[in-house]
Amino acid sequence: MTAGATRSVRAPSQARMLGPIRPRPRWLEFRLLGLVAIALLAGSLSLGATVTGRFGLFDAQALLIYIAALFGAHAAQVLAGRRTDQILLPTVALLGGISLLLMQRLPQDLVTQTFFGATFGLAQVQLIWLLIGLTIATTLGIVVRSDRWLRRYKYTWAAVGVGLLLLTFVFGTEVNGQRLTLQLGPLSGQPTELLKVILVVFLAGYLSENRALLVEQDTRLGPLRLPPLPYLAPMVAMWAIALGIVVIQRDLGAALLFFGVFLALLYVATGRVSLVIIGFVLFFIGSAVMAVLFDHIRTRIDIWLDPFADPLGAGFQVVQALHAFARGGLLGVGLGAGLPEIAGNLPIPEVHTDFPLAALGEELGIVGVVAILGLYLVVIERGMRIGAAAADDFRSLLAVGLALVIGVQAFIIAAGNLKVLPLTGVTLPYISYGGSSILANSLVVGLLLALSDKGVEPPPLPRTGSRWRRAGRRAAT
């Protein structure tokens, strides 16, 4: 080692990093998107033949618009010439396409919205959201080259998130006994969907900065080794926020999702099982107390334990979903051939938001459900790979966290549909109907795409300011 090896790190100049924009072919993505298009056309043919009784695509216009948009997004990425992930977009595109087929097949008057004097039905509204989501994901994947706006302002983002939550607490409108929807003029949305992305950004920033301190062992509590207590404070705060969501918003699903993602990220950052165990213990204690105190949570658990106790009342949704899975069997009854409405009502209430997996289970069978779960696994795998290849802790944790948000959410609602867990009202990512859900999950894809490019701005140097000095002194004493 010579004196010359001692050097300070300087970020390469911006001009060299970016270089001129040159189109770069993405053949893998092109081939996969081609396969997605063919599969969706086959699905549409199957749906059309079942519904109309002769061979033809079902509502070909909407599907063709969707496929054209997919290739448009592909072309935009080719022209932008970035080395981003090529598997993520086709995978999500297939999930979105299945969603479109499902929404076309459900009664169109489930949701009607009027934009500029024209009234759109369920499938058309969903198509519009899918197109907007695709635009967001592609734009983020092309434009975002620096993570500084996320990294540096993590407390600002956290404040925005808490603000959104408080706004919903105060001004939210109640739908089905859950105070989730925030109405701002003509726009309404569910802030918890956006909140989950903000949560991951904040946790990635916080954990990457304090990772070393959380890993150190200072406090011992019996056989458990705990990190220094002040650094556990955010964990306790997180637990309190999750419980607050349950109490005030009555949103079990979001609480479960937030806490699950939080514990998973904590484990990824510190590698300490004791934290996860403590988290689970806290969660179960909290749930048990909640179940004693609040009726609506006890009802959920009762339904989960025995839906057939009240098959036409409280347990109706779950019982109908189980029947749907049973009717589907191995290969399903075919798209469009599921049970029609019973006396003007859907067999499963809220099938388009809470139970799309049950509908798909009926029409595509367990073979189809397994394939759909496989697609989610692919999304998670991509997130893990992007995280493993990332340049520093913040990007690793961000990528892993974003993928886990999708994975945990899909798991929670799939398990709810199948009566593995108590039913909670989260959406099935990319498949459920709903603007907020599709937009937030597109944000996730866009950020993952941006993170997967290695040729972006290098991570900043560690700060040598007061925080490190304070931390060092604490550790030295």
């Binding site: 080692m1 790979r385 040598t464």
Partner: protein
């Protein structure tokens, strides 16, 4: 009508089959990606970033490129001189062996710590791990490309 039903079932199975074909293609691409990652040359070049140094030598924020064998200590013959009152003359040595970096404490008085855990003999160090010698805290990172 039976012919129609037969073709309809064929189309239904075709749809499911195409989804599985897509999954198979994706998994093939994933496997190829993972194999390529495993074949990549092992990242042997690392650097040590000084995070905290009360005595000012080495100064905080400085980054050292690492040789395959990099001795650390208070003695001026060390590759990385740590001028700290709690550091020994020949304190520890960082070595690259096989696939990863290792820290070996050379019988120092106050010990070396990886992520707050005292090193007994030789301990592996991954990128991102923190090393503490005396009051000086350092982090092992990948060298900048």
């Amino acid at each position: 009508m039976d012919g129609f039903l037969l073709v309809l079932w064929a189309v239904r199975l075709l749809f499911l089959g195409l989804i599985y074909l897509f999954l198979a293609r994706v998994i093939r691409a994933l496997l190829r990606d993972l194999r390529a990652a495993a074949r990549e040359p092992i990242e042997r070049s690392g650097r040590l970033i000084i995070l905290e140094s009360p005595s000012g030598e080495p100064p905080a924020g400085q980054s050292f490129g690492l040789d395959v064998i990099t001795p650390l200590g208070r003695d001026v013959n060390n590759a990385i001189v740590i001028d700290d009152e709690f550091a020994s003359a020949d304190h520890a040595v960082l070595t690259f062996r096989g696939r990863s970096w290792y820290i070996e404490d050379l019988g120092s008085t106050n010990g070396s710590y990886v992520n707050g855990r005292r090193v007994e003999g030789v301990a592996p160090m991954g990128f991102g791990d923190e090393l503490q010698i005396g009051q000086v805290r350092m982090r092992l990172e990948r060298a900048m490309p």
